[in-house]
């Protein structure tokens, strides 16, 4: 259901970006600072939940810009995109609109680890995001640079040492108040850019640096612990200067699969998709890196960069004498540029040119924009609650790279969750959490807030314990009902659709279980399937569907009267059947963990004076990490079973004491302030 046309944007933008002067003294529910993947999802989610939302960004026309690679999804990341979509976020639909090369990675490794991925047209992606935001009710966008947070005394009835009441803009003294503020400043928090031996302040090339005031407020005023991370981006190459015949052609899937559960097809027609190209580094590349090391500030510093997205410098230094992959990816349908994935570098521009020309297809290549490195501050995420709120500061939420993550999808997922919670908190509704047993977003947030980061955090499927249950195909079943019923960030259209899908799938599986035949009868029905007759047991249709060579289509043609109405779900049913025994095994463990996660530990608890038997060591760990739930506490290193039982006992007793409901469903308590 992709819309046929996006509105012409620039004519629409000006009335929305009101002059900031008009906003002074205005009270918003939620202010989102930043217009990247986290910021746009946060603003849209906050508005969907029902909050009057203001998005502040340095330049409106860079909202939705893909600062680094022109692609979305992948293994692990694709799962995040599907989940953001299931919660009615933007990036899945934007990907379907802007994608120009779709492929499902890991196609041969099992549906639980399929990685939906697409190359994107940068312009189309930006257009889609901007158009979505413009048509979102309750959302205003404004250009500006935030100088500081307005901080005051906390609400004594809630935990925390401070409360955020709004922001102050850099140009002049405009203060805008809000009940919640979401910071999604990406690499701009005390960001520095590195090319060769030059360093300049900034978070992205071509954009003004953010003010140092924000960093100062976070560290000095709010006392938050911060750390420093680095990342980098490759030079952009002029397409016409590359001899692509020397690289290996890599074609997309012939039938593009959309990210969004709402879309049946992608905007780009299958035959209009663009290819990618694969090439390899040569010994010359390693030589150039070694010769230019003394000219390369970024690489000499010991700030932590990601181990899995290293610059070409780190790659050849860590694994010398090898040939490394370089993908040449299109930047868009009409773009003249190529993006060399794997060649992120920070040496001086003339040496960058020497380096890329050591790679055969780029022998005569020209650089359009050189690569560069960025170093930036992040806030140690163990200081956040699972709602992504700063524990010490009421109303302040953080999402994206500011929490130490890397990647568009990781940012979008946090943005959505922080935005939804910022809105709920502003509207006096309780915040909500996602368990690591039900979603990759839950895994991401739990890893961040309970373990922290030592390097930029990226999602992998190996991080999810219940990988066989958290599949890309069932993200809607896992999250859409919850998103509508408990969070309020899902539209009723999507909700109704997800119910229809869920009921149909359930009916189909029940119908499959009702087909109950002996092996010999099955053999007659499906002569081509090797069913062993040694077992004289009866088999259901569901059992049959677990066979490798049995498809739902085969069963449907054998039993058209009971199954043919479910043909649209053929693939999903096959996957459900194969994974069912494993998910059943997971289920008990999942339920146990969820029960422990349902027991929350008060945030203001004084672990040192808690009148239960805990060792000093355990008290220290609990005080340092301040786990939000008993479940999170049990996962901490050094927490003994005895400590868990004592905590459990404490939680039971305190919960019994306050059995008075604090919130009433559906009622949003709002104060009216002028």
């Amino acid at each position: 259901m992709l819309r046929k046309k996006l509105p012409f944007l620039h004519s629409l933008l000006s009335p929305v970006s009101r002059h900031v002067g008009h906003l002074t003294g205005h009270q918003y529910d939620v202010i989102v600072v930043g217009g990247g993947h986290a910021g746009t999802e946060a603003a849209a989610a906050a508005a969907r939940v029902g909050a009057e939302t203001l998005l502040i960004t340095q330049k409106i026309h860079t909202i939705g810009a893909l600062s680094c690679n022109p692609s979305l999804g992948g293994v692990g990341k694709g799962q995040l995109v599907k989940e953001v979509d299931a919660l009615d976020g933007l990036c899945g639909r934007a990907g379907d609109w802007a994608g120009i090369h779709f492929s499902i990675l890991n196609r041969r490794k099992g549906p639980a680890v399929w990685g939906p991925r697409a190359q994107l047209d940068r312009q189309r992606y930006r257009d889609f995001i901007q158009s979505e935001l413009l048509s979102t009710p309750r959302l205003t966008m404004v250009e500006g640079s935030v100088e500081e947070l307005l901080v005051t005394e906390p609400n004594p009835e809630e935990p925390g040492h401070h409360r955020v009441t709004g922001i102050r803009l850099a140009n002049g003294s405009h203060a805008i108040s809000a009940r919640s503020v979401v910071l999604t400043t990406g690499t701009f928090l005390s960001g520095s850019l590195f090319v060769g031996q030059t360093t300049s302040p900034g978070g992205r090339i071509g954009d003004a640096p953010s003010s140092a005031g924000l960093s100062h407020t976070l560290r000095e005023r709010l006392g938050l612990r911060t750390g420093r991370l680095r990342t980098g981006t490759p030079p952009r190459i002029v397409k016409d200067s590359v001899d692509l015949s020397l690289a290996k052609l890599h074609l997309p899937d012939s039938h593009p699969t959309p990210f969004s559960f709402l879309n049946t097809h992608t905007h780009c027609k299958p035959e209009e998709q663009l290819p990618c190209y694969l090439t390899f580094t040569t010994p010359g590349v390693e030589r150039v890196v070694r010769e230019s090391l003394q000219l390369n500030c970024h690489i000499q510093q010991d700030t932590k960069g990601p181990r899995y997205c290293p610059s070409i410098e780190s790659r050849v230094l860590r694994f010398p004498g090898r040939s490394h992959q370089v993908w040449l990816e299109p930047e868009g349908v009409t773009s003249d540029l190529l993006y060399p994935q794997g060649l992120s570098m920070t040496m001086p521009p003339d040496i960058q040119l020497r380096l890329i020309r050591e790679i055969p297809p780029m022998r005569r290549a020209e650089i359009h924009t050189p690569g560069y490195g960025v170093q930036y501050d992040f806030v140690c995420p163990t200081q956040l609650s699972p709602a992504l709120q700063v524990k010490s500061t009421q109303g302040l939420f953080l999402a994206g790279q500011i929490n130490g993550t890397t990647g568009y999808e990781e940012a979008a997922a946090q943005g959505l969750w922080a935005g939804a919670n910022a809105a709920r908190s502003a509207l006096s509704m309780p915040t909500v959490t996602l368990s690591r047993t039900e979603s990759y977003i839950g895994v991401l947030i739990d890893d961040l807030v309970s373990r922290g980061v030592t390097e930029p955090y990226r999602m992998f499927t190996s991080r999810a314990e219940f990988r066989t249950s958290l599949r890309p195909d069932n993200a809607d079943l896992r999250l859409t009902p919850k998103g509508f019923e408990e969070v309020g960030c899902v539209s009723s259209v999507r909700y109704q659709e997800s119910l229809r899908v869920r009921n149909s799938l359930q009916d189909a599986l029940t119908a499959l279980q009702a087909l109950f035949l002996s092996t010999s009868s099955w053999k007659k029905k499906l002569p081509s399937v090797p069913i062993s007759e040694t077992k004289s047991t009866l088999l259901t249709g569901l059992d049959l569907l677990q066979y490798n060579d049995v498809t739902f289509e085969m069963l449907a043609s054998a039993f058209p009267e009971s199954l043919s109405s479910f043909m649209e779900f053929a693939q999903r049913l096959k996957i459900e059947a194969v994974y069912k025994p494993h998910c059943d095994l997971n289920k008990k463990e999942i339920e146990r963990i969820q029960r422990e996660e349902n027991m929350s530990l008060p945030q203001d608890i004084d672990y040192f004076s808690l009148p239960v038997s805990l060792s000093d060591e355990v008290r220290e760990i609990l005080d340092r990490v301040r786990p939000s739930t008993l479940g999170a506490a049990t996962r901490l290193e050094g927490i003994t079973p005895a400590a868990v039982v004592n905590l459990l006992n404490y939680v039971r007793v305190t919960e019994k004491k306050k059995e008075t409901p604090q919130y009433f469903d559906g009622e949003r308590v709002r104060e009216d302030t002028a």
Partner: protein
């Protein structure tokens, strides 16, 4: 340190026992994110069993089973094919091994259907003869019943607590109880893991972790990276080797090291305090060489004793001091290792030294700080003038939190009788607790985890060519099962191996 953290969460922990698909089941339920209310009790799915009587001088041993599969255990081990026995009634039955139908013992069985049982769950008690062979056989037979696994430390009590079966005072002491049980299991495991068996398990664990890291790398990175298909072929070889080795180990009953049973009592202290004299006194023969030269004992001297009917394994260790002598240094290292594994430590101090109270950092202090069970033995009372005795008395009274102290003389036998009484009652308490020094239970636990590990590796083989996610799930389960013996493995540890072995550039 072995993280024996049985009841709480863990990475990649999942129930592994076989769940049969039910026929004609109620309508299919898809993944549902909502928790159906908040159940009153945290009922666990597994069924657990443990020896719940003491060992040593006992004629009858009680083995308890708790959980949903208790009735299954009763059916297949006590021959109730048709219906279950009346609740809470003792019946004399033949107890058989469900695998071989061999009769293991004749004993009493009791059936406690939920909720009227100690744990609030369906429970069964087997009252059998107390000999170690019978107990071991029954525990191993229980381990072979589908859905049953050996209990972890404190698990019975925890379940009883969750079912609201414990009184207020019992609940208050629960944390301490579980702490003690965990500690006892930890020491027991440490004893087993310090030997050849430990090295074997550790080697399996390392190889398994590597297999898992390589499968995970292949799943998460192979689409974009130069991770050759050869990686998986090497994993295939490793997995089938490991599976074969573990299965062979499980079949070869003699392969397990003979476990030293009895309460492990270790004599420790500074040099020349009279540790070896104490050992000789206790075993009433000159088992260890005694001399006035400091540092005479260099290795661990071990003696099995019967202390008022309870089995005790007494070890004399080298005096603790810094030494430049290589042999003595090794002796001191072994001494510390023994203290670490001990159920009870006898800290021997020379009483006529100026200050008997241990300085910070010396052994007694370390023992106290680590909440070890220990007795402080002040030796050489015969050399102590009356005046100094009084001073010592005041000094000791001024310190709180000291363990039981006894002033003795190995030379004149002064105070020895009183000391023996204290020692005897400590050992008796230890033996009364089924978890202390019960190697059979540890053995049964290891066996159960190894069986699951081998079964999980078979899952890898089964799905290797059709669904790598499900195949990887098998390796994950195998790592988790073995991790129950060798220590928990987290996702980060696996990622570390991945990044060490592969250059992941995307």
């Amino acid at each position: 340190m072995l993280p024996l953290r049985p009841v709480c969460g863990g990475i990649w922990r999942a129930a592994v026992h076989t769940v049969r698909m039910s026929r004609g089941a109620p309508p299919y339920r898809l993944f549902s994110s909502t928790c159906d209310g908040a159940p009153a009790a945290l009922a666990d799915a597994d069924t657990i069993f443990a020896l719940s009587s003491g060992h040593g001088r006992c004629g009858v041993a009680v083995v308890r089973v708790s959980g949903p599969a208790s009735a299954t255990a009763l059916r297949c081990m006590a021959g109730f094919t048709q219906r279950l026995p009346p609740p809470r009634t003792a019946l004399l039955r033949s107890i058989t091994d469900p695998r071989s139908t061999e009769v293991l013992d004749r004993g009493l069985v009791l059936w406690f259907p939920a909720p009227r049982s100690f744990s609030g769950e369906d429970s069964v008690e087997f009252h059998i003869h107390g000999g170690p062979a019978v107990v071991t056989a029954v525990l191993q037979a229980l381990g072979s019943v589908p859905g049953l696994r050996p209990a972890e430390a404190g698990e019975f009590t925890r379940r009883a607590f969750q079912a609201g079966k414990l009184g207020l005072t019992e609940v208050e002491g629960l944390g301490d109880l579980i702490h003690a049980e965990t500690e006892a299991q930890r020491r027991q495991a440490l004893r087993q893991m310090s030997g050849e068996l430990g090295r074997l398990y550790q080697d399996w664990s390392d190889r398994l972790k590597r297999c898992l890291a390589h499968v995970e790398a292949f799943i998460d990175f192979s689409e974009d990276e130069l991770i050759e298909d050869g990686v998986l072929n090497r994993v295939d070889v490793s997995v089938s080797d490991l599976q074969a080795e573990i299965e062979r180990h499980l079949k070869d009953e003699r392969r397990g090291e003979r476990l030293r049973s009895g309460v492990q009592v270790v004599i420790a202290g500074a040099t020349n305090a009279g540790k070896s004299s104490l050992l000789n006194k206790l075993c009433q023969r000159p088992a260890a060489i005694v001399s006035p030269i400091a540092g005479t004992t260099r290795d661990v001297v071990e003696t099995a004793l019967d202390l008022g009917g309870f089995p005790v394994l007494l070890s004399d260790t080298a005096g603790l001091r810094d030494s430049s002598d290589l042999v003595e240094r090794e002796g001191v290292r072994r001494a510390r290792e023994r203290v670490e594994q001990a159920d009870l430590t006898l800290v021997v101090v020379d009483s006529h030294l100026r200050s008997v109270l241990p300085d910070t950092g010396t052994v007694p202090c370390v023992c106290l700080l680590m909440h070890r069970l220990c007795l402080l033995v002040l030796n050489k009372a015969d050399l102590l003038p009356e005046k100094q005795r009084q001073k010592l008395d005041t000094e000791l009274r001024g310190v709180s939190g000291l363990p039981a102290v006894r002033l003795i003389s190995c030379q004149t036998n002064e105070g020895l009788k009183a000391f023996l009484t204290v020692l005897h009652s400590s050992v008796k308490t230890l033996c009364g607790d089924p978890l202390f020094g019960a190697p059979t239970l540890t053995q049964a636990r290891h066996r159960a985890h190894l069986q699951r590990c081998a079964a999980a590796l078979a899952q890898y083989q089964r799905y290797r060519d059709t669904d790598l996610a499900l195949a990887a799930e098998g390796v994950r389960l195998a790592v988790t099962s073995l991790g129950r013996i060798t220590g928990r493995v987290g996702a980060e540890e696996i990622l570390d191996i991945i990044f060490k072995d592969f250059c992941i550039g995307k």
